[in-house]
């Protein structure tokens, strides 16, 4: 992270080596895996568009979430029920345009599923292939992070970053879209570190663990997973919730990347080099 390359054309501009090859490669493999997992996961969800709590469950009227279509006259209406609340979602959830343009019953619309048409078998094949990709890629990343010290040095917030005063200032800075510059930009800020660590250590492992809890084979080998998540149907619901949290993370992550210098950030995750401006540190 400390290799410096002065940019000959722009005095005061330093290119630091921000991301190792391992981090860059695993990052982009992760992007591909998560994208396919989301879209194929929604295909799988569409086969039974209700979420339940507990060991078992299939009745839509006792579901915690249910995305359905109701026939009204000769047309369809999409309805999404969360707990006791029913929200009309025609066109997006419950009923949306099929290949012929007419409304058809489907929980998530065709532009959000792999494949676009209803095909659970293919959705599963894609999901499990890329799930293996996610797991192997994630394991390689964690192993590298532990051995190289990247997790400890790059992602664990340092003591000075964890004081309430510092954290409050970071929150205020983020709210105004002020990002660290100069020397302070050499490391991740504390909010960034905490967000990344939550994803790496909680959300992604949680995604895999809740997914495995839906497997009757894995449940036989590791029945404690059922106790951890409160049953197979609870695990399915938590799989959906965790996926939603990951989508939220990606939305904020991409917004922050754009707001704090889209090209500089993107380049650092491709070539590894990240530009900082040395004059900022003395100002």
């Amino acid at each position: 992270m400390n290799t410096l390359v002065a940019d000959a054309r722009k005095p005061g501009r330093l290119l630091i080596r921000r991301h190792s090859v391992a981090v860059r490669v695993t990052h982009w493999i992760n992007v591909i895996c998560l994208a396919v997992l989301l879209l194929s996961g929604l295909q799988i969800f569409n086969a039974h568009p209700s979420l339940h709590w507990g060991q078992s469950g299939f009745e839509p009227d006792r579901a915690v979430l249910d995305i359905t279509a109701v026939a009204v006259g000769d047309t369809l209406r999409g309805v999404t029920r969360v707990g006791g609340l029913a929200v009309p979602t025609t066109g997006v959830l419950g009923a949306s345009a099929g290949s012929d343009g007419a409304l058809e019953e489907r929980a998530f619309p065709s532009w959000l599923t792999i494949p676009s048409y209803r095909d659970l078998a293919s959705g599963r094949r894609w999901h499990f292939f890329f799930a293996w990709g996610l797991v192997l890629n994630g394991a390689a990343y964690l192993l590298h992070g532990l051995v190289s010290g990247h997790l400890r040095r790059g992602l664990l917030p340092s003591a000075d970053q964890l004081t309430p005063r510092h954290l409050l200032r970071e929150v205020a800075d983020h709210a105004r879209l002020h990002f660290p510059r100069g020397d302070e930009a050499r490391r991740y800020n504390a909010l960034q570190k905490l967000a990344y660590l939550s994803v790496i250590l909680i959300l992604l492992p949680g995604m895999v663990a809740t997914g495995l809890t839906m497997s009757p084979g894995v449940d036989a080998a590791w029945p404690w997973l059922l106790d951890l998540f409160g049953g197979r149907q609870s695990a399915r619901t938590l799989h959906f919730v965790t996926a939603s949290l990951l989508i939220l993370f990606v939305a904020v992550h991409v917004a922050m990347v754009v707001a704090s210098g889209a090209w500089n950030n993107l380049r650092s995750m491709i070539t590894g080099r990240y530009a900082i401006h040395s004059e900022d540190s003395s100002s």
Partner: protein, 258 residues
């Protein structure tokens, strides 16, 4: 920096490619036979990993009576069509016979009464449908391993194929008839039973009367209903479309542990 332009061009190209992929290109990839062959490798990985995890013969969780589903959902066929099945059902399956044949030393033909006299196992287990829902039921039946032992397997026996009474998809050539297969690891697992009772009652027609397979560490479509014949084979490549089951012939994994 001279390398920057190509990189930008590469990025633009990658972005355009990703866009094309998102707009319908995905469907073409899904239908590509080579892509499918590669994606199917994951099934082998899954089976290998699960078989390693389950090498100690771990049992699927058994639940308490309090956890039984109020109604055990019927899925797939709820009543096989045709006069032959109707005639069997009319007499309470008194004339029904299960035949066990193929690569066995002593082919068997068993009535429902014969099966009920054999040692039985009762287990309250969770049925996980490939669609995503689950139901918990109490099954009573004969361990499949006991029957296979009685019949005596030939040295080259590798799979038990379950032929069912229901035609799930109308077909002229019989390829719509439901069937399933498991290997000997699952066939001899203590929880693999041929169930004739659900929740203490005779198995209802909707749930597979008179006899269905329970292979508890796999998904619902492996739990073949309306059993008529168990054929022990070395390979199932010659049966129907050759992938080892009705749903397997329609794209689903043969190993349904996830």
């Amino acid at each position: 920096m001279s390398t920057r332009i190509p990189r930008r061009r590469f990025l633009a190209g990658a972005a355009a490619g990703a866009g094309a992929l998102a707009l319908g290109g995905c469907d073409r990839l899904v239908q590509n036979a080579d892509v499918e062959r590669i994606l199917r490798l994951a099934e082998r990985l899954t089976m290998g990993a699960q078989r390693a995890l389950l090498s100690g013969g771990a049992l699927a969780r058994e639940y308490s009576e309090a956890e039984l589903s109020p109604v055990f959902r019927s899925n797939g066929t709820s009543r096989p069509a045709g006069e032959a099945y109707a005639a069997l059902a009319e007499t309470g399956f008194a004339d029904w016979r299960l035949s066990i044949d193929g690569l066995v030393q002593r082919p068997l033909s068993l009535s429902l009464a014969d099966l009920k006299q054999l040692p039985s196992r009762t287990q309250i287990t969770r049925h996980d449908c490939v669609e995503g829902w689950s139901a918990i039921g109490k099954w009573t039946g004969v361990p499949l391993g006991l029957l296979l032992q009685t019949a005596g397997l030939a040295a080259n026996a590798r799979y038990a194929v379950f032929h069912c009474a229901d035609e799930y998809e109308r077909s002229a050539d019989g390829s719509g008839r439901y069937y399933e297969s498991i290997d000997l690891v699952d066939a001899f697992h203590p929880q693999t039973i041929l169930a004739y009772a659900l929740n203490g009652q005779d198995l209802p027609v909707a749930n597979g009367a008179p006899l269905r397979l329970r292979v508890e560490r796999q998904l619902g479509y492996k739990q073949a209903k309306y059993l008529m014949r168990i054929e022990v084979v070395e390979s199932f490549a010659h049966i129907s479309r050759g992938r080892g089951g009705f749903w397997e012939d329609r794209g689903y994994e043969w190993y349904a542990g996830i």
